[in-house]
Amino acid sequence: MNGEGLTIRDLRVTFDGFTAVDGVDLDISPGDLRFLIGPNGAGKTTLVDAVTGLVRATGSVRFGDEELLGKAVHRIARLGIGRTFQTATVFEKLTVLQNLDIAAGAGRGPLTLLRRRKGVPQAVTKALETTGLADLRDRPAGVLAHGQKQWLEIGMLLVQDVRLLLLDEPVAGMSHEEREATGELLRRVSADRTVVVIEHDMDFMRSFARSVSVLHAGKVLSEGTVAEVQADTKVQEVYLGRAAEPRPAPAVPVAEEA
């Protein structure tokens, strides 16, 4: 597997005395499809925020040989690290095609930028196909259904040619079919990239995760395959809680925070 892995050592994020991420160590090898799970407030999103430069953190986050902490957000993005947000953030006034074209364009020279877009870059065409949005390419992204917006976001990461995708609850609010389609999409994407998914949906996690890390109160509680993590009694206590049997999915609500 080509590409770099993500190595996190003793990562700490503190907001006004509250420690959201409390000494996390994580090793995500290239080509992994890693799920980060944990109750609300476990520090999952903050962890991703720290990796992508959105919040200040101490410790070390290395992508390949590059230390990420202390770098500006757009510099980290240019190293090939992309993320999505819990609420799909696409450029609503721009068309699907324009959204993808912008994502493909970081590092374009000023002369290219000042010219009108002629034709469609190959990466964009490919992403339109991969995400199944080819028919909708000239529509404003604002009219897309929720699931389609999430796919567009993933498509934007693909044309950006990221090597590490960090997805924050990509299937929240999706129908069953959309979940399946998203899972398949992630599988295809992770064939030559590393994917990290924050998710609350246990069924989705069981179906598609290659490995799982469980976060609790800012710390890594357990790590391994889906089966290993589910068998871990610590996980059952804090997270799966009262439903210790193998199918506790309904007990875990889909997060609805903004």
């Binding site: 993005a77 947000f85 912008i102 199944g132 959309e178 609500p253």
Partner: protein, 377 residues
């Protein structure tokens, strides 16, 4: 959903669409360069020339505010820099024509006989002309660099811009001996060798202004439809997202801000021969707000809307402020609040808004993939 469907036949741009923009441009050119000079008296035409200067500022406002989301409430600074750069040259040229060593006001108020060092280069017409655009752009570049990097935005940016406009006009008032103080630089006689008293030359100034406006509109239009234009809208709508795509939004905004400043500077420079004066009262807080109101009312994201709005508001101002001098400021404020608060797209968007009102729920435009938030609960 994941099967690759064959791409639908690309609908070529409809003919009406393809000719709409050049057609509108041509119509504007005919109106400005053909109809208006024939139909209007010298007096009206010189008023129109003044309004067109405001319209040039509005082109930049449309770019920076309409497309870039930068609430540029301090364009008076750049308008003033351009205006003063031009007026300084014209005053020096006037003085040279009459064999004086110093511009008239300096002889009145001046404490020394020598021209201040920073006036001297403006005797050179090429330098002065270049400065009308480059000086505002340079100031905007420094300012924008500091401000956007620190992620100052929204109301803070607007207030900062306002404060600068106030500061510049206050500074100018304080420097009576070298800038003419409150009076500003007035009584300008010539324009590169042509007497501004001659109505023919006044018409020529009008043609220059109209041509510059059309040119800058064409330039802005190119920027709007370029990839940069798309990126600028993206920054306006979701700056954070753009950052995660690997762009530095500060640079994207900086370009729009600097270009808008250059346009305002050029407008200020052209204002001087058109009106014959530049003064602190023309570039302070109130005129700075005035520069954006036209764009807000007409439709800041639409180039034509912003330009027409600027002309209309300038016309209304000069008409109404003669009749009701005290009421105009309130009306101006009201217009601004109404436009920004209730019709962000300005009059240019009125059609779309009304259409949407009439059809309460726009049909969702593709095969249904229902959003099922509650399903998993």
């Amino acid at each position: 959903m994941t099967t690759t469907t064959p791409e639908p036949p690309r609908t070529s741009v409809p003919v009406t669409e393809r000719f709409r923009v050049p057609g509108a441009f041509l119509l504007g050119a005919v109106l400005l360069l053909g109809v208006a000079p024939l139909a209007l008296s010298d007096f009206r035409l010189s008023l129109l020339a003044k309004y067109l200067c405001y319209a040039i500022v509005a082109v930049g406002v449309s770019l920076a505010w309409g497309r870039g989301g930068l609430m540029v409430l301090g364009q008076g600074v750049f308008f003033g820099l351009g205006g003063y750069a031009m007026a300084m040259h014209l005053k020096l040229a006037d003085a040279a024509d009459t064999g004086q060593k110093l511009p008239d006001f300096m002889q009145l108020y001046g404490t020394s006989d020598a021209l201040p060092w920073w006036w001297k280069p403006f005797a050179n017409p090429v330098f002065a002309l270049a400065m009308t655009v480059l000086l505002p752009m340079a100031v905007a570049a420094v300012l924008g660099f500091l401000v956007f990097r620190r992620r100052v935005k929204g109301a803070y940016f607007a207030i900062l811009s306002q404060a600068l406009a106030a500061a510049l006009s206050i500074w100018l008032v304080g420097q009576q001996a070298t800038t003419g103080g409150t009076n500003g630089l007035t009584d300008i006689q010539g324009f590169f060798g042509y007497s501004l008293d001659d109505p023919v030359n006044q018409r020529m100034v009008y043609f220059v202004i109209a041509a510059v406006l059309l040119l800058l509109m064409a330039l802005a239009r190119r920027l709007f439809v370029s990839r940069y234009g798309e990126l600028l809208v993206a920054v306006r709508d979701s700056e954070e997202r753009v950052r995660f795509l690997g762009y530095d939004p500060a640079n994207v905004k900086l370009v729009a801000y600097v270009v808008a400043a250059g346009m305002a500077g050029l407008a200020g420079a052209l204002f001087v021969p058109a009106v014959g004066i530049i003064s602190p009262a023309l570039i302070g807080i109130v005129p700075s707000i005035g520069f954006v109101i036209g764009a807000a009312v007409g439709g800041r994201a639409s180039l034509v809307g912003a330009v027409l709005g600027a002309i209309a508001v300038a016309w209304a101002q000069s008409t109404l402020s003669d009749e009701f001098p005290a009421a105009w400021t309130y009306l101006q404020g009201l217009l601004f609040v109404l436009a920004v608060g209730f019709l962000p797209g300005g009059l240019a968007s009125l059609g779309t808004v009304l259409r949407r009102r009439r059809t309460p729920k726009a049909p969702v435009a593709q095969e249904p993939v229902p959003v099922t938030v509650g399903e998993t609960a």
